[in-house]
Amino acid sequence: MINEFRYLPDTEQDQAEMMEALEIHSIDELFKDIPEEIRLKEELVLPDAVSESALTKHLRKLAALNVHSHEVAVFLGAGTYDHYIPSVVDHVISRSEFYTAYTPYQPEASQGELQAIFEFQTMITELTGMEAANSSLYDGFTSLGEAANLAVVTTKRPKVVVSKGVHPQGREVLRSVSKGREFQLEEIPLAVDTTDLSQLESAVDEQTAAVIVQYPNFLGSIEDLQKVKEMAVNQKALFIVMANPLALGVLESPGKFGADIVVGDMQPLGLTMSAGGPHCGYFTVNKKHLRKIPGRIVGQTTDKEGKRGFVMTLQTREQHIRREKATSNMSSNQALNALASAVCMAALGKNGIQEMAQLNVEKADYLANQLRSKGFKIVNQAPFFNEFAVELKHSVKEVSAVLLEKGIIGGYDLEPEYGMKNTMLLCATDQRTKEEMDTLVSVLEEIAYE
């Protein structure tokens, strides 16, 4: 009777033997310390258990109700991207020695995971130009929240200044986080497509714990990190950059511009879109802030015979030791996704990541030029990476509906968040072909002259 559940090995005989050892007659006796008035009288009202084949049929049907990127051309980016993922990535993370392991509390039996994370930390610091990284956080937006908390605690200042060039959802998460430690959040509007630097300068004062910009920003444009850094330094505020790690294949690293904390999401490097999660937040700093980093950090050491090995280190920062004095409450992270990104970064290598980033630049450049040549206005004035805003003749909603009929997922509607009427944020990644882009342009042209 128990055996109808394939994950449960107990036979009736097994249970009888265990009960005999415990000198009980029914398993129920093990629950007699639970007061009668809170015991459930009936079985949980859930759909009945189903067989493996029936279940896969049901789930395939559900999955088929979604439109996926293998059947349409996705021109939607806005923080989550349809990129090339080398086949090796899924093969590595499908090894159950990795995915069925817990946090490496016993380093001697977890060297594989620990080394892989150490390699991940090295690669992400290479890209961001920083000195230290943790082993990952939930996603780019929650990493941003942790960075703001770190700044507020370290500087003991009550205000964080954030550019509207930061992803709207990132700012929403920041707002929620700010209500925890109770700091002020001041948003700086964009001057067209990049942060309004004069407004930023007047907002940053001696009460400012940190200045936050995104690179490239939400509209795809490259912010002038050098100028923002100067404003932060003048008031001794920390400079926090949320950066797309793929773009850093060709863009100068935030570390070079003097960032104190660089965070972001690894999704562009090896992670499936998966409706927005699980992705993987990264968190990098300079050595000065090493002991304030949230989450787990892997460090190199030696065993008692002098052999190189890896351990989780600087654990006194963490909740399981420091409890209410911990720098963060982070426990579970996104280690398997960090592994996936590490595999992707290693597969791309020093040349591949530059080529992939360059490809993104070229595709977006081509698409923008085609649109310009058909009379569309490209909003961006600053150079952009793989995304840009384009003004349409109709509402984004209407245009998206038409595009969908043609097998195209259109871009992000910039009107609700930015008040940019009929303006769509379009993204062209390495996965978009010239043919797909030409189709997009011709459909947009058709709609425009209807």
Binding site: R60, V67, N329
Partner: protein, 484 residues
């Protein structure tokens, strides 16, 4: 096993690669012209350069130095290291689940919305709550979200100025006090009784008009059911505080009772524990929260709701604590948990808890003659032992843990909860066979004998792992956190 010890950076050679990028079909762009020199990367990021076969061998070699549930018994207390079903992995990789953009038009995401909506409904039933949000990415994230709901609730009632204290038992997970502080509360620790449950008198002394809430896990981290839970709920509710349930230990009570029935107002569930999704070497997890009806306006937005036959996103909740994570939470993890619940059904989940509790009691019974058992009553899904007897012979709990690795087991959680000296916290889960439990018990007994007869073999352990005991002191004194 051969001793592969290279880092990727050490096997790297110029101009090797393990990728095949699409060929460009558009005109080339000069980066320096487009971005100006200042913004073009001067020094390329020094990523390793390896071929695809090298890459695969590297990671295969690393995986051989890693221990997961598929390798063997993983009795890590409070972590519920049960088997991770393979169908769950397959399903999460379906095109329609893995390759969808979160901001696609909602009519192109109806399948995932339906799945999320149904999972919310299922979790309501299992937790006894009135509404569930899937947005938190892990347990600690759920805790923080729950505490922010407590905060928002008291703020709405104009009581936040005085209600600044969160009560946490001394046996609680470390995330509880940490989450409370990050939510802006002060933490008051409540001591445990000799029987391992919350000291009611101490609780009564601490509650008052400044109480924002109490965080509790039940069964607690000692594996003991807080039998006075209804009285505790009354004590806290009477002074206007709210009750928060840390769902890390739900595996003990599925189908038997619910946090809702116990009087809790808010709960988080760790889908990567009770609901079988893999831990991935530390994550990703998923930590949905459930609340009673009076708290539903405070849940994170957007909410996934059903409107007629259509599933929609609704952010129109002015009292909401806001967004706490990008998009909809860890969707891919939630797909796995949904698949698990459909595999087990209501009766299956009850059997899970029954077996988990039977296994823990049986294993405790087998080990009690050999190790100190500070709380010898019936346990739930896990139990604690103390290595005090062995410590007197010069062997620490950490040594016992390392010795277990030599026998092909992972170690239990050690030195937690903090209130037990030389603590070993063991959670066998329902997916282990009786043979495995017996073999593990025999090894633990053998180690206890070694401690008496040949302690050195234990204090010098592990002997058969890829590295011997590691120098954590130097790692923390002179941190090397990246390859140079």
């Amino acid at each position: 096993m051969n001793e592969y010890k290279e880092l990727l950076f050490e096997i790297s050679r110029s101009n090797r690669r393990a990728c095949s990028l699409p060929q460009s079909d558009v005109p080339t762009v000069s980066l320096k012209e487009k971005f100006t020199e200042k913004f073009v990367r001067e020094e390329p990021a020094n990523l390793p350069e390896v071929s695809e076969p090298q890459l695969m061998r590297h990671y295969t070699a690393l995986s051989n130095k890693n221990f997961g549930v598929d390798n063997g018994f993983y009795p890590l207390g409070s972590c519920t290291m049960k088997y991770n079903p393979k169908i769950n992995e397959d399903v999460a990789r379906y095109d329609g689940f893995a390759h969808i953009h979160p901001l696609q038009p909602t009519q192109t995401l109806q399948g995932s919305f339906q799945l999320m909506y149904e999972l919310q409904e299922d979790l309501k039933v299992v937790s006894g709550m009135d509404e569930v949000s899937l947005q938190p990415a892990a347990g600690a994230h759920g805790e923080w979200a729950g505490l922010m709901i407590i905060k928002a609730y008291h703020e709405t009632n104009n009581e936040l100025d005085v209600r600044r204290k969160i009560l946490v038992p001394d046996s609680a997970h470390g995330t509880n006090p940490a989450s409370a502080v990050i939510a802006g509360f002060d933490v008051i620790e409540i001591p445990s009784n000799e029987d391992g449950t919350v000291d009611l008198e101490a609780l009564k002394e601490q509650v008052g008009p400044d109480t924002a809430g109490l965080m509790l896990t039940n069964p607690n981290t000692l594996g003991i059911f807080e039998k006075d839970i209804l009285e505790m709920a009354e004590i806290v509710h009477e002074v206007g505080g709210l009750l928060y349930y840390d769902g890390a230990n739900l595996n003990a009570i599925m189908g038997i009772t619910t946090p809702g029935a116990m009087g809790f107002d808010i709960v988080h569930l760790n889908l990567h524990k009770s609901f079988s999704t893999p831990h991935g070497g530390g994550g990703p997890g998923s930590g949905p929260i459930g609340v009673k009806a009076f708290l539903t306006p405070y849940l994170p937005v957007p909410k996934i709701e059903k409107s007629g036959e259509e599933f929609v996103l609704n952010s129109d909740y002015p009292l909401s604590i806001g967004r706490i994570k990008g998009y909809f939470g860890n969707f891919g993890v939630n797909v796995r948990a949904y698949t698990y619940i459909r595999t087990m059904g209501g009766s299956g989940l009850r059997k899970v808890s029954e077996s988990a509790v039977l296994h823990a009691n049986y294993l405790r019974h087998r080990l009690e003659p050999y190790y100190d058992s500070p709380y010898p009553q019936i346990c739930k899904h896990e139990f604690v032992l103390s290595g005090n007897r062995q410590k007197k012979l010069g062997v620490r709990t950490t040594d016992i843990a390392k010795r277990l690795l030599d026998f092909g087991y992972y170690a239990p959680t050690i030195y937690f909860p903090l209130i037990v000296e030389e603590c070993l916290m063991i959670e066998p889960t329902e997916t282990e066979s009786k043979e495995t439990l017996d073999e593990f018990a025999n090894v633990m007994i053998r180690i206890a004998q070694e401690v008496e007869q040949n302690p050195e073999i234990v204090t010098q352990a592990p002997h058969y792992t890829s590295v011997k005991r590691l120098d954590e002191v130097t790692a923390a004194r002179k941190p090397v956190v990246r390859f140079e």
